[in-house]
C-alpha cells in the first residue's frame, strides 16, 4: 500500500502511549539491550533475562527469531549442545519409558509445521490499572513463528499411556541460582497433550531455536499461553495425579468465571481459580503511536495484527470517534487459526485536528475485546481495546 498519508518528517514513532501507562519505575529501568544472537529488544530485567519486542517488530506477521521476545523465570540457563541433549519420556501413567536424542526426534516422528502465536500470560501486565507486581510487560511479550517439530501425541503413543493419565508434565534444563528454588515444571491436561497441534518443536522459522527461545527443543501448545511452552525441554512425564507445586498451584491462575474461556484444565481447578488456558482475542495497531502526525486531506492508513486462542479471527473493527461507530478493517493473509492475522484500515481524508483510533478484534468463537480491562491480581489476559490519539495536521 502507498503510505502517502504519512508525514515522513515525523520521526517520533514509538510506543509512547504504552510508556505513559507503564509504572514510572518500569520506564526508568527499561533499556534497549542486545542479548547474544538477538537484535536490540526492550530489557525489562537482566537476570533472569526478560526482554520484549518493540511494537514495530509486529509490522512483520512472522516475528523474526532475532527479534522474538525472551522470558525466563530462573537465571541458570545452560547452553545446550544438541548432540548431547536427551529427552526423557516416562511417568507413572506411562507403560514404557525411553530416551530420545535429537536425531531420533527428527527422524522417528512425522514432522509437522504450523504458525502459532506464543504470548506470555502476563503480556501487557505493565498496563494493568491498578498496577500489579510481576514483570511489567508492555505489548511485546509475544511473537508469531512457524514451528516445526514432532507431535507430542506421537511421542506419547510410544510411551503407551495408561488410561489413568490425567496430565502430561514437562521440565526444562533451566534452574534457579539456589538449590532451594523450585524447578519450573508445568503440565497440561492429557487431552491437550493429545491434540494434533501440540508439538515438541526443534525449528523456528526454518532455523534451530535461538538459545534464548529454548534451543534445542521446546513444547509448542498452539492457542495456549506461553507458560506451557516449555523451553529446553528435557523430560516429559505422564501423570495419574495432578502436578503440584508453586508453578501450578499458585502461579498462572485466573479467577474463575471472569473471562470468556472455552478450554478447561479441570484437574487443576479449585473453587475460586483455574489455570490460564487459551489466549483471549486481541489486537495491536503496529504503524501508529500517540502523537503520530498524518497530513490533513490525505488518506490515513492504520495497520495492525489480531490473534486469539485458535478459534480464528472473524473480523477487526476500527473506530475513529471514541467507539461511537465502528467500521470493518480488511483482513490480510490467513496463515492458520493460531497465527497473527494482519489487517488494515483505510480512513478517508480528515480535516486537521486530534483523532482517536481504536481497534477491536473479534474471534470466530464469538468473543471480542472488552472496552474495560478485566482486572485480575496477576495481570493476565489484558486484552482491553487500545486507543491511540493521532494528530492530523
Amino acid at each position: 500500500m502507498v503510505a502517502s498519508g504519512i508525514v515522513l518528517a515525523d520521526a517520533g514513532f514509538g510506543p509512547r502511549r504504552v510508556r505513559a501507562a507503564l509504572p514510572p519505575g518500569t520506564v526508568e529501568s527499561e533499556a534497549l539491550d542486545t542479548l547474544p544472537g538477538k537484535l536490540p529488544l526492550i530489557k525489562r530485567s537482566f537476570r533472569p533475562p526478560n526482554y520484549e519486542s518493540p511494537v514495530e517488530t509486529f509490522q512483520d506477521v512472522i516475528t523474526p527469531n532475532d527479534r522474538f521476545f525472551v522470558r525466563w523465570h530462573l537465571s541458570d540457563i545452560p547452553r545446550i549442545d544438541s548432540g548431547s541433549w536427551r529427552l526423557n519420556v516416562g511417568g507413572d501413567a506411562a507403560a514404557r519409558s525411553f530416551e530420545l536424542d535429537m536425531d531420533q526426534l527428527r527422524r522417528d516422528y512425522e514432522p509437522v509445521e504450523l504458525v502459532a502465536v506464543c504470548q506470555c500470560a502476563g503480556n501487557r501486565r505493565g498496563l494493568s490499572d491498578p498496577h500489579v507486581p510481576g514483570v511489567e510487560w508492555g505489548t511485546g511479550a509475544m511473537g508469531n513463528a512457524r514451528r516445526k517439530g514432532a507431535r507430542l501425541k506421537d511421542i506419547l503413543a510410544r510411551a503407551d499411556l495408561k488410561k489413568e493419565a490425567v496430565e502430561i508434565a514437562y521440565n526444562g534444563a533451566d534452574r534457579g541460582s539456589l538449590e532451594m528454588t523450585p524447578a519450573f515444571v508445568k503440565s497440561i491436561p492429557a487431552w491437550k497433550a493429545m491434540d494434533e497441534n501440540t508439538l515438541v518443536a526443534y525449528e523456528m522459522n526454518g532455523a534451530p531455536l535461538p538459545h534464548w527461545n529454548g534451543f534445542p527443543a521446546r513444547i509448542v501448545v498452539p492457542g495456549w499461553a506461553a507458560t506451557y511452552w516449555m523451553k529446553q525441554v528435557v523430560s516429559i512425564r505422564a501423570l495419574s495425579q495432578p502436578l503440584t507445586g508453586f508453578w501450578m498451584n499458585t502461579a498462572y491462575r485466573i479467577p474463575k468465571g471472569k473471562f470468556p474461556i472455552v478450554d478447561r484444565f479441570t484437574s487443576q481447578e479449585t473453587e475460586a481459580t483455574a489455570p490460564i488456558t487459551e489466549i483471549l482475542v486481541n489486537s495491536l495497531m503496529t504503524n501508529v503511536a500517540d502523537g503520530r502526525r498524518f497530513a490533513a486531506g490525505q488518506p490515513i492508513e492504520i495497520k495492525g495484527i489480531a490473534w486469539d486462542g485458535g478459534f480464528g479471527i472473524r473480523g477487526v473493527e476500527v473506530s475513529i470517534d471514541d467507539g461511537r461507530t465502528w467500521q470493518s478493517a480488511t483482513l490480510g493473509e490467513n496463515q492458520g487459526r493460531y497465527s497473527f492475522r494482519p489487517w488494515q484500515f483505510a480512513c478517508a481524508p480528515r480535516p486537521s485536528g486530534r483523532m482517536s483510533v481504536t481497534a477491536r478484534a473479534s474471534s470466530a468463537q464469538g468473543t471480542s475485546q472488552p472496552s474495560e480491562l478485566i482486572f485480575n491480581a496477576a495481570g493476565y489476559h489484558n486484552n482491553v481495546v487500545q486507543k491511540i490519539v493521532i494528530d492530523v495536521v
Binding site: S45, F46, R47, P130, H131, V135, S177, T181, P182
Partner: protein
C-alpha cells in the same frame, strides 16, 4: 602452544556477558541499600525492584519478600525482613 577458546568457552563468555548489563542498575541510597542489594541480587537483577515501582504498599512489598523466602528459598533471616521492607517501601513503594 597457543590455546584458542573452543566453542564452549566462547558460549559461556557470551552467556556471562548477557547479564553484564545489570551492573548499570542504580538503587537508591540509604542505610539498608547494601542489605537489599546482597539479599535480592542472589537470585535476580535489581531492576526487578525499580521495575515494580512505585505502586506497592508496605504490605505488598512484604508479601513479595516473604514469597522470595517461602517459595523461592531465599535465605533471608526473619530478622532482616523489616529493614528490607522499610527500604523498599520508602524508596520504591507507595502509601
Amino acid at each position: 602452544m597457543t590455546v584458542r577458546p573452543g566453542p564452549l568457552l566462547l558460549f559461556s563468555l557470551l552467556a556471562a556477558s548477557a547479564f553484564a548489563g545489570e551492573s548499570s542498575i542504580k538503587l537508591a541510597g540509604g542505610a539498608q541499600s547494601a542489605l537489599v542489594r546482597s539479599h535480592c541480587s542472589t537470585c535476580h537483577s535489581l531492576d526487578y525492584i525499580v521495575m515494580n515501582s512505585p505502586f506497592l504498599t508496605r504490605a505488598a512489598w512484604e508479601t513479595e519478600v516473604r514469597k522470595m523466602m517461602r517459595v523461592m528459598g531465599a535465605p533471608i533471616p526473619d530478622g532482616d525482613v523489616a529493614a528490607i521492607v522499610d527500604y523498599l517501601t520508602e524508596h520504591y513503594g507507595t502509601k
